[in-house]
Amino acid sequence: MQYISNTDNDKKVMLEAIGVSSFEDLVAKVPKSLRNFELRLPKGKSELELLSEMVEIGRENINFHDYASYLGAGNYDHFVPTVVNALAHRGEFITSYTPYQGEASQGTLQSIYEFQSLICELTAMDYSNASMYDGASGLAEAALLALRSTGRKKIVVPVTIHPEYRTVVKTYTSCLDVEIVEIPMAADGVLDFEILKKSIDENTAAVLVQHPNFFGLLEDVRAIGEEAHKAGALFIACVNPISLGILEPPGEYGADIAVGEGQPLGNPTAFGGPHFGFFTVKEDFLRKMPGRIAGMTVDKVGRRSFVLTLQAREQHIRREKATSNICTNHSLCALKGAIYLSLLGKEGLKKLALLNLKNAHQTYDALLKLKGVREFSRRPFFNEFVLHLEKDAGNLKASLEANKILGPLALNAFYPKQAGAYLFAVTENRTPSDQQRLLEAISAS
């Protein structure tokens, strides 16, 4: 199948107008030695054949309509109202690009301004950019901002942060002269505060925290932030946006930078991407932020309008002096986030958070009553928690599958010492009958 408008005759006419006799004349500059190959790829397909083949491939995936998902760890099975995609998938949003021509992109620019506003309200931070690729790369960019801003060389990273996020921070800084100091976990699943205190010094650029942490537990954020600030380091919080319906937002507990994964806000999990990262700062760091920012201004006759602004931070203007190399971002995913938050509203946000809290706690309580299920921590949690399951891993897996349950996540994949510990996420989408099946699956294994 091809999507080319010109006919063979059009091409002939065009080649004549160009003044060449064949297409080959147009690529004569390409050395002959490079032209000797043929692509080993299958023949093209019609749309009809393509769709049926893709549907077939899709049958090899179990999806959330087939099985009830208790998987989380950064991506969650939240409900996405129909309106989100109906609007975000409009051709005018999906087939436009970065709003460099502001007059022809007021829709995108105003929606970015609204996105920034919504995210600031959610996090209680001063400013937000237009989006990062995801939560993990956003966290790494936050660490880079702290390094630039303080001129220091050390980043403090507790192991209670998502292991993949920690790896991303390490990878982003792997060519730089930066020391990453890992803080171990205390017995109750949060970071070891005593070791943290000892690890922060005058060379610490930032202390990173995930809250709730990878195990779903609330970290003692206020105290951690105070320790960071005492040493003149920045305090960077990585937060779950839905939790902010009930949890104190990072702007209120002293975060200098707050980032997070935006997937829970109206984006499907899609095997891990694309989603978006949100990136927010306190006033002092506005001009050091990575990525695009939209601002309100007026046009030449005074009409309210929106424009990309503070671009002197960006790669297309500053090249090697830019605050980040990001160009294409995750605008459409952020738009979904803005539509989602608009649909949710004040009351909706709190309600959604409460539904998650309730579902997770009911499931937790019910699981703990089962034989062979042991507590991991007594720390408070939001919609994710860890439990020890004294079960044979193979039997457990088989039983979960037989009962059409996805998850929970075995922690030993990331924490070898935590064999037998499992991470459960319970969203508003989980029903009492899902919970029943989960309990049966675990009891039976």
């Binding site: 995936n61 030449k300 309008s305």
Partner: protein, 510 residues
């Protein structure tokens, strides 16, 4: 200010003063209130009702950790949300509505069936941590995509992890760094042509390298002599775009690659312009060690108002151990994630990549097949050259000659008459055409970079020429209309200085 029943047109008539209306020839597009300025009592109920006892679970969380002040989100009905964002969408130019010859961005038509495929629940409602055995379809797509891209580019292995071109560049330079470190060589510099995209130097700096700029020669190609004079054992990498950002094929590429390899440097391919080369030649055969693709340019991932895209990175054999982890492997007809990669640079983001974008490109490659892919580049090149030849009567083309999929013309003649590339760009909007990329690459004064793409018809290109001819007449007869453009868009030229001096970056309820 609140505009409760805001039908856009009514608001427009209320809000705009008469002066604005004289200038605004098209009054159907207008001010949309902010979502925060809309009010309705009934907010949409798409969540199940609370049962009343939920708040008791809050007791499990100490007061100190709870939110005290509600987030000030809007409170609006579903219809209002629909009307709001539909209204906003109508203020955008887009490929679905407009010719969009934005150079370097490959704004081609993105087949609608790809959206439908990516939206299937079997691809959108799957979790990155579900068991491999329950995600064989997704793993198959990732694995085969690694293979397809390796074949198309002539590389040995691919990672699909990077989220965009710039992210791919970061991946590539981190791989280069790890490779040199593993060999014990100390490399501090990255060479970048003066015509390169801003992300190239920004990425090099992000990785702690010194950026050394290589000049372009009179033909608009990398100046080989200048390059040679800057090559020494401290060079980690040369980053190149081919065809380069002038749309010209770098004819000396084989010698250039050889020279960089001779000082133990690597050659990096910025694949933003791959739409010119499908089935015609391959960066892997040119001597490149690392390449990135922009799936949102070449492989029909829609640009989404700025993203998401996808920036897979391919490498030659010697660099495979350094690729981000995990890659997808195939063993005995089963697909699985690589479990160990001791020399890997690690990860650039969570999970495996922008699967929802990758699947579109995967289906696109399947739909086109090898003949279709080659037809893409053939038509992209024909369309660009046709426009170049037709427009060079009107515009200077500083590095003229046969181009690949795009070309850069200069509004230098027009500038002498007092009209700049920016003005012409704005005037094009009045005619319903998105502007070309302007003022890039930096080495061309008054640059206008035109990339028609393969999906546009000769009729559209002819119309584009006619529009530019009309603008040319306006420049002669009524330059004010060009200098004051655009007139028909929802707003006119904006006060960017005000925006930067007094940043208003969010709504605040006062």
């Amino acid at each position: 200010m609140s505009t409760p029943l805001a039908l856009n047109r009514i608001t427009d008539l209320l809000m705009n003063d008469s002066k604005a209306k004289v200038l605004s020839k098209n009054e159907t597009r207008s001010r949309t209130p902010l979502i925060f300025e809309r009010h309705s009592r009934n907010h949409a109920e798409w969540l199940p009702a609370l049962e009343g006892h939920e708040e008791t679970y809050l007791k499990s969380i100490p007061q100190d950790f709870l939110r005290k002040k509600e987030a000030n989100l809007p409170s609006v009905s579903e219809l209002e949300v629909v009307r709001h964002f539909t209204g906003l969408s109508q203020k955008n130019f887009s490929v679905d509505v407009n010719f969009y010859p934005l150079g370097s961005c490959t704004m081609k038509y993105n087949p609608k069936c790809l959206d439908a495929i990516a939206s299937l629940s079997s691809f959108s409602l799957i979790h990155p941590y579900q068991e491999e055995s329950l995600a064989q379809g997704a793993l198959k797509i990732l694995f085969e995509m690694q293979e397809y891209l390796s074949e198309i580019t002539g590389m040995d292995e691919f990672t699909l992890q990077p989220a965009a071109g710039a992210h791919g560049e970061l991946c590539g330079l981190l791989i280069a760094g790890a490779y040199h470190r593993a060999r014990g060589s100390k490399k501090t510099k990255v060479l970048i042509p003066d015509s390169a995209h801003g992300t190239n130097p920004a990425t090099a700096a992000l990785c702690g390298y010194e950026v050394v700029t290589v000049k372009s020669n009179a033909k608009g190609l990398v100046d080989f002599d200048d390059l040679k004079s800057k090559l020494d054992s401290g060079v980690a990498c040369l980053m190149m775009t081919n065809p380069n950002t002038l749309g010209l094929f770098e004819e000396d590429i084989l010698e250039i690659a050889k020279a960089v390899h001779a000082v133990d440097g690597l050659v990096y391919y910025d694949g933003a312009n791959m739409n010119a080369l499908l089935g015609i030649c391959r960066p892997g055969d040119m001597g490149f060690d690392i390449v990135h693709m922009n799936l949102h340019k070449t492989f029909a991932v829609p640009h989404g108002s700025g993203g998401p895209g996808s920036g897979p990175v391919g490498v030659k054999k010697h660099l495979i151990p350094f690729l981000p982890s995990p890659r997808v492997l195939k063993q005995k007809e089963k697909f699985l994630f690589e479990k160990q990669a001791p020399q890997s640079i690690g990860k650039l983001r969570s999970f495996y990549g922008n699967f929802g974008a990758i699947i579109r490109s995967y289906a696109y490659i399947k739909a086109l097949g090898k003949e279709g892919l080659r037809a893409v580049s053939e038509n992209a090149i024909i369309n660009a050259n046709y426009l170049r030849v037709r427009l060079k009567k009107m515009y200077d083309v500083p590095y003229d000659g046969i181009c690949m999929h795009e070309f850069v013309m200069a509004a230098t003649r027009q500038k002498k008459k007092g009209v700049r590339a920016l003005d012409i760009a704005k005037r094009l909007l009045d005619y319903g055409v998105h502007a070309p990329t302007v003022y890039f690459p930096l080495i061309v004064e008054e640059a206008m970079m035109v990339e028609p793409t393969e999906t546009e018809s000769k009729e559209t290109l002819d119309e584009f020429v006619q529009i530019l001819e009309k603008i040319e007449k306006e420049i002669e007869q009524d330059p004010a209309i060009v200098l004051e453009a655009p007139h028909t868009t929802p707003v006119g030229r904006m006060d960017e200085v005000l925006a930067a001096r007094q940043p208003n970056l969010r709504f605040k309820n006062s």
